[in-house]
Amino acid sequence: MSPDVVIEAKGLTKKYGQAVAVDDISFTVGRGEIFGLLGPNGAGKTTTILMLLGLTDISGGGISVLGFNPAREPLSVKRRVGYLPDTVGFYDQLTAADNLRYTARLIGFRFNEREKRIAEALDRVGLSEFADHRVGTFSRGMRQRLGLAEILMKGAQIAILDEPTSGLDPHATTELLAIIRRFKTEGVSVLLSSHLLERVQSVCDRVALFNAGRIALMGSVSELGRQVLGAGYVVDIEADGAGLAERLALIPGVSGVEQTGIGKLRLHADRDVRPEAATEVVAMHGRLKYLGVEEPSLEAIYTHYFENKSGEAAKQGARYAA
């Protein structure tokens, strides 16, 4: 395992009796990377996470987390990895700080260090003023932030977050994602699972799309876009100038130009053609008002991919029936 790889799974499999929850998946997560496990509910994301933490047995394959085997050395793994479960729970009758104190004692921090770490962690997630409030009064967003505070307090090298944004309002989601981005700047690797694609797209460096226990697609969002949607780049231009559309169509790599409004053009290309488009506009002495490239949306990739899959399956089924 190279020093920059923090999680490495090879042929990971989990069976419950006859049912296969996770089927022969392999992936790696690098240091300081935000890696997303995406897919519908029941696709095997949470099971994968529990296997990484050594909280459930592995039926086949192997995992290495920071060089440790979670099945044999669970304490070493759990000391270095922070986990925010799906809909995290706290002891409602205790205050936020007391909840963290209990965890800190379980980890084994001494009194002085404990208090310092708790105060810092609560401050960083913006819960300082609620430290002595009982968690029973907390909103869902605050509970999720307290969960992140626990990971910060632990000083984890890897943060594993299961559906961190589900059930949160847009404001709380934005706050949470900001905290998650800060993990990255500190060299903490983040593995997060979600079925909410749009939100996750903005923070993940790489994603793995899960479907029925397998990883269907893996890579960065733009890679996946090209892979699944074909000609992946859509460039929007707002500029004036007669005959601009014809000239832009001649740029190598552009497959089509469409008029989307007065002075508005949309280019379909197999690469990012913004520099060439800008040069053309300037060469015609046109006035360039807007030039932007539309990132492929994860949602579109996802829907497209699984529509194709189910289409193929249906076709195959029809063939067999015939």
């Binding site: 949470t46 099971t47 529990l50 933490l53 909280l55 459930t56 044999r72 050395e73 669970p74 304490l75 070493s76 759990k78 000391r79 990895v81 922070g82 986990y83 925010l84 479960p85 809909t87 995290v88 729970g89 706290f90 002891y91 409602d92 009758q93 209990y102 965890t103 004692r105 379980l106 980890i107 084994g108 969960g147 626990e150």
Partner: protein
């Protein structure tokens, strides 16, 4: 496969947290208040009766535990009734409560083993009960002193103390059972009902059932019946069956400890009584020896129930 590290990492932390939770919980305060009220009531009534009737008894103090006056039953009756209720009340939601609050996976993702969590929960609840029972014991002893004004002898205190220890062990049995059911059933209400049901079965129904069953399996011999005696085989079987219930075991230990004249817990032949001065008290050591199998039985039941729960908990999936 050798596991890394100690299974008891974090045990003390879990235990202290459980202890603190229990001692501050409203549930515990209510249970404790009920027991205290009953203790004061029964000891007061017992003291009235002791003043009236018993003049010279070397074990006057122990009478506080055993004397009853209509309509109020004796203190040990209440204790044998309420100790299981308290144990079940403390433990019926200990594991499934963590599931339902969704704290279990978060706690287990800390560097501890499941062993520590389960054992810590058991010890925390047992310590809570022990504290409650010690307080109760001191209360009864103190009230006894106040009401009759005669200090207890060393032997009496020693007997009462062994009785206290046995009561804590008895609490442990029901605690282990409630803990087991809190692992098996995801719903706390189901777990509470199942544990209470089993307790009622052992406390009320089983003694009757044991008699009936033994009569069916070993029918009474008419020759013994003609003499007005019980058939030995039937009696022995009945006792064996009845002793499967922790309540029976506890009752027998109490009799041996608090009534020093008890010489045997079960049928004995007349020949075995030869040379015995009937009605003369035994020394404490001998009384403990009589009840020793029962005491070991209670400890064994606790361990067996805990181990079953432990195995079930280890195999359980964490995800809710």
């Amino acid at each position: 496969m050798q596991r890394e590290g100690s299974a008891f990492n974090g045990l003390g932390v879990v235990m202290l947290k459980e202890l603190a939770d229990h001692l501050t919980s409203i549930r515990f305060i209510i249970l404790e208040l009920i027991v205290m009220l009953i203790a004061v009531g029964t000891v007061y009534v017992a003291s009235q009766q002791i003043k009236d009737t018993v003049a010279e008894d070397p074990f006057l103090f122990l009478k506080f535990f055993t004397t009853s006056q209509e309509p109020l039953p004796s203190f040990i009756f209440w204790l044998s009734l309420l100790v299981p209720v308290m144990s079940i009340g403390l433990a019926f939601d200990s594991v499934n409560g963590e599931y339902n609050r969704r704290t279990l996976s978060r706690i287990l993702s800390q560097p501890i083993y499941r062993d520590a969590l389960l054992f810590g929960k058991f010890l925390g609840a047992l310590m809570t009960l022990a504290i409650a029972l010690v307080v109760l014991w001191l209360l009864v002893m103190g009230l006894g002193l106040l009401f009759i004004g005669i200090p207890p002898g060393g032997e009496e205190v020693a007997r009462a103390f062994v009785f206290l220890l046995v009561t804590i062990v008895y609490a442990g049995v029901w605690l282990a059972l409630a803990l087991l059911f809190s692992i098996v059933f995801r719903s706390a209400a189901t777990a509470a009902l199942a544990t209470l049901g089993l307790w009622l079965f052992f406390y009320v129904i089983w003694p009757v059932l044991a008699g009936e069953l033994s009569q069916i399996i070993v029918p009474p011999d008419p020759r013994y019946a003609a003499l007005g005696l019980q058939t030995p085989g039937t009696v022995v079987l009945e006792q064996f069956l009845a002793r499967l219930s922790p309540s029976t075991l506890f009752g027998e230990i109490v009799v041996a400890l608090l009534d020093p004249t008890t010489r045997a817990l079960g049928p004995i032949y007349l020949s075995q009584l030869q040379g015995a001065v009937l009605g003369a008290p035994l020394p404490l050591g001998a009384s403990v020896l009589i009840a020793w199998p029962q005491i070991v039985g209670l400890v064994a039941a606790t361990i067996i129930l805990f181990v079953i729960g432990y195995v079930a908990f280890q195999r359980q999936e964490v995800r809710a």
